[in-house]
Amino acid sequence: MIDFLITFSLTLLVVLMVLNLGGLLLWVERKGSAVLQDRIGANRAAVFGKLPFNLGIVNTLVADPIKLFTKEDFVPAGADKLLHTLAPAIGLVPLLVTFIVIPFGDVLIIGGREISLQAANLNIGILYVLAMVSLSVYGVVLGGWASNNRWALLGGIRGSAQMISYEIPLGLALIGVVLTFGSLDLQEITRAQGALIGGWIPAWGIVYQPVAFLIFLAAGIAESKRIPFDLPEAESELIAGYFTEYSGAKQAMFMLGDFVEAIIVAGLITTLFFGGWQVPFLLRDGFHFPWGGSLALPSLLVTLLQVGSFTLKVLFFCWLQIMIRWTLPRFRYDQLISLGWKIILPLALANVMLTALIILLFE
């Protein structure tokens, strides 16, 4: 019973954290894009008076959601009502359950009980992530088809082709990491990254697999359909692509889905390439510096440091994705497909071959 309660509360915690971070990212995107483009950005609804400038928190986190949820829920004539309603949920739900295999800390010790800070410890960890992410494509495809609108259909078709094309390099980049650490379980991969190379450099995935990291970043951004890969929604070509005919709460679900996907990409990059919850030189009983000297810490503080480290890294990679989005222009469609199949895919294949060869020669 207590095991069930622990798993239940961990899962709930993870899903709520992802949802809240999704909301927060909406604000970061609004205000962050303004900072990047030298604008003021969201500056209405200044409830807490005017600071040096209005941060727009109330505007984006309270006023905007209220507006979205009170809007008319419109289904166009001739649309497939059932699929039109289901599509946003089909797109969002697989993404929300993806984060449960990503560990956000080592172990939390309460009353002599060790709780692994990972909601679901699956032997197939990474495969589960790939399975769920690949299911979320249906939200885009069905949303585009069920709207009975040509722009939406074009967006849906573009979305399916793009997401299938970039799923392959995404998976191949993961194979390089799996070969290096010899496990599919994300908690084990993170633990393996606690080692030190030559006593100094943390053995993070980026050190072993820099090419896989770049491939994963590019393919991950393409999977979450953000600029420069936002062809499925390309507002200057397709109005809003696959969610042209959506309004109110359903459109909010599509928007949230995009943010959740960005969070998943950030979480995976952190876990696979940047040591997950690892803090350099921090072991379970405190810091052990390579230049001698150590600092003993209580286990609760160690756990808090690890969770904090994971959170900071995830936030940084979310911010990086938003910065990329507001910096680069959009690809042309043929450029997108030929980049995926002619450059990224061979590069990913070469990376897998080279990694396997090096492991074969040196181990």
């Binding site: 699929l83 032997n123 495969l127 399975a131 690949s134 495809v141 088809w145 082709a161």
Partner: protein, 162 residues
């Protein structure tokens, strides 16, 4: 897998599988096929074959069926209104079905369910166990499948270049 779980999954699975061929709209047919494959993956989970379940979803539900939908949408297929010409396909289907059921019956007679459950090894269904089986006991079939897929890819490229 107990009796209740089996039928709680099997009945919807069969109904949905029938809907794949019974529904007039091609998009809905494809979606019912996705649902069928998804429920099959749930079956594999109950049988402790976690890797197979994950691969079932990644390969079939997540990739191949998306391509099916892509083609259906690209060709803008409408609901099937004209009856399809038969060419004696019905009779062949009945014969094939009878043979399949007979084979399944034979297989069922040969294996008893208790034997299958007691002989599960310790790490059954894990990635490590499946991988070492694939690369030792079943190496030849595995390599042949690889070559078949390579031939298919080359064939597709040749056809596309024409």
């Amino acid at each position: 897998m107990d009796f209740v779980t089996f039928f709680a999954l099997a009945i919807p699975l069969v109904v949905i599988a029938i809907m794949v061929i019974a529904h007039p709209s091609p998009v809905y047919s494809a979606l019912f096929l996705v649902l069928t494959l998804f429920l099959l993956a749930v079956y594999f989970l109950f049988l402790d074959a976690h890797v197979v379940a994950a691969l079932q979803i990644i390969v079939y539900a997540g990739a191949i069926m998306v391509l099916f939908l892509f083609v259906i949408m690209l060709l803008n297929l409408q609901s099937d209104t004209q009856p399809t010409p038969r060419h004696g396909l019905g009779r062949a289907a009945i014969i094939g079905g009878v043979i399949l059921v007979a084979e399944l019956g034979l297989l069922l007679q040969r294996s008893s369910s208790e034997q299958a459950e007691s002989s599960l090894p310790e790490n059954f269904g894990t990635v490590e166990a499946l991988g070492s089986q694939l690369f030792t006991t079943y190496l030849l079939p595995f390599e042949i499948t690889g070559i078949l897929l390579l031939v298919a890819v080359v064939g597709a490229v040749v056809l596309a270049k024409r």
